[in-house]
Symmetry: C2
C-alpha cells in the first residue's frame, strides 16, 4: 500500500529533525523555505507530532484549530457527502500544508485528513499562526503563493469533473495530471500507485468496478503498462486525446 516496494522495508518515514531550522529538505518545499528568523520563530510555535498509520489528523466540519505541515508520510484528504459518497481531493506529501484556507477564513476544515502511513507532522495553533503571519510580512507572501497553488489544484479537479465527459476521460486525465506532478520536472510518466481502485474511483468521480475495467482496457490498448504497483504511461499523446 505504501510507497515502499515489495522489499520488506517500512514505509518511508525517514527521521525528521527536531527543529525545522535543521531540516535539509526545506529549500525545496514551497512553504517551508522561510527566512532564518521566521523559521526560528516557527520552531517556537510549532508542535511536532507523530501519527500512526490510518489515523485522523482532523475532520471535515471541525472548526479550524490550526495548520499542519507534513514532514514525512502521505496523507489522504477527502470529503464525504451525507449519504456516504467520498471524494478524495488529493494525497498530501511532505512539504504540503493542511488546513491553511480554513484557518485563514476561520471556517470549518473542508476535508478530512487521514494518514496512509506513519507520519510526522508539525502543527501550529490558529492564534499563533495568525500572529506569526502578522509579524513576518513576507511569510504572508509565501502563504498566499501556497494557497494559490492549492487553488490551482482544486481548480483542475473541478475542471476534470465538469469537462471530461466520460469516466474514461476523467481517469486518463487523472493519471496524466498525476504522473506530471508526481515525477516533478521531466515527464517520468512512471509512478508507483499507492492507491486501491476504490480510492482511484473516488478521485476520478466514478465507481470501483469502472476503474478496474478501464485500467485493464488501457493496458490492452497499450496506453499504460503495469508492473506490480507501478504504472507507466506509454502513449501520453493518445492518452490526452481520450480526455475529451
Amino acid at each position: 500500500m505504501a510507497t515502499s516496494g515489495k522489499n520488506g522495508t517500512p514505509p518511508a518515514t525517514r527521521q525528521v529533525p527536531e527543529r525545522c531550522a535543521q531540516c535539509t529538505d526545506r529549500a525545496e518545499r514551497l512553504f517551508c523555505n522561510l527566512p532564518e528568523e521566521a523559521i526560528e520563530r516557527f520552531d517556537e510555535i510549532a508542535m511536532q507530532i507523530s501519527y500512526p498509520s490510518r489515523s485522523i489528523v482532523f475532520e471535515e466540519g471541525q472548526r479550524a484549530a490550526g495548520i499542519f505541515v507534513v514532514c514525512s508520510g502521505q496523507i489522504k484528504l477527502a470529503a464525504t457527502s451525507r449519504d456516504g459518497r467520498t471524494m478524495i481531493l488529493k494525497i498530501a506529501v511532505p512539504g504540503d500544508v493542511l488546513g491553511l484556507t480554513a484557518t485563514l477564513n476561520d471556517l470549518p476544515y473542508e476535508v478530512t485528513a487521514e494518514t496512509l502511513e506513519p507520519c510526522q507532522i508539525r502543527s501550529v495553533r490558529r492564534r499563533d499562526f495568525l500572529e506569526f503571519l502578522s509579524h513576518f510580512g513576507d511569510v504572508s507572501r509565501h502563504a498566499a503563493q501556497v494557497i494559490a497553488r492549492e487553488y490551482h489544484e482544486v481548480f483542475l479537479d473541478a475542471r476534470r469533473l465538469a469537462l471530461s465527459g466520460s469516466a474514461a476521460g476523467r481517469l486518463a486525465q487523472l493519471l496524466l495530471d498525476w504522473a506530471r506532478t508526481s515525477s516533478c520536472g521531466k515527464p517520468e510518466l512512471r509512478f508507483t500507485m499507492a492507491l486501491t481502485h476504490e480510492e482511484l474511483a473516488n478521485m476520478a468521480g466514478t465507481s470501483r468496478e469502472t476503474v478496474t475495467r478501464l485500467l485493464n482496457q488501457f493496458e490492452r490498448d497499450e496506453l499504460i503498462a503495469r508492473h506490480g504497483a507501478s504504472i507507466s504511461i506509454l502513449h501520453p499523446v493518445d492518452m490526452e486525446r481520450m480526455v475529451g
Copy 2:
C-alpha cells in the same frame, strides 16, 4: 439579461470614482479594504478601464499579465474543454479580484473572463502588483485571505460536481449555495437570475434541457417560485434533502 428589470434602465453601471481612495464601497470589499497608504500606492499603479458588455477581459491559457479588480458590473468566469464543453466557475461581482492565483503562480489564467454588462475594472500589471505586495506586508495577508476564499468557492464547486449524485442534486445545491452568497448575510433566498438555462446548465454540470425540466419540476413541487427573472427558494429544507 442584466440585473435591471423590465424597465428600460441600463444595467447597474453606477459611476465609479476616479481613485480607489474615494470609493465609498471599499469597506465592505475584502480586498479593497486596505490601509490608507497602501490604497494611495494602489491608485498609482492601477489602471482604470471600462469594458462594454460581452467583451473579453482575459482568456484561459494566456500567460498572466496581472490582476483585475471588478469595480462595477458582472463578469462570467468560464473554462472550456477542447471539444467545446463549457464550465462556468462563477459570476464575479464588484469587489472580486480576477487573475490573482495565476498572477502569483506566474501561470496562465485558468479561465476566460467575459463581461455580462458594461463593467468598470481596475487592473494592475504583474510586476507592479508583486512589488506592491512586497512593499506592503499586510496586503499579502489580505491577498492570502482573498485567495483562501476563492479556494473555498472552487472547492464547493468540485464537491458539488463529485458528490451530488444527480443532476437534480447539483442544480438544487447550486441554487442554495448561490442564494446564500448572493443575499449575503440573512437567508434572503430570493435573487434575480441573470443567467440563461444554458448557462445554469454549465454551472451545474448538466444539459440545457435538463435544467429546463428540473426548474419546472421544482416549481411544480413548490420548492421554488419564479416571477420573471427572480427566483425564490420556498422550502430550503426540502431543497437540501434532495442534494444527496
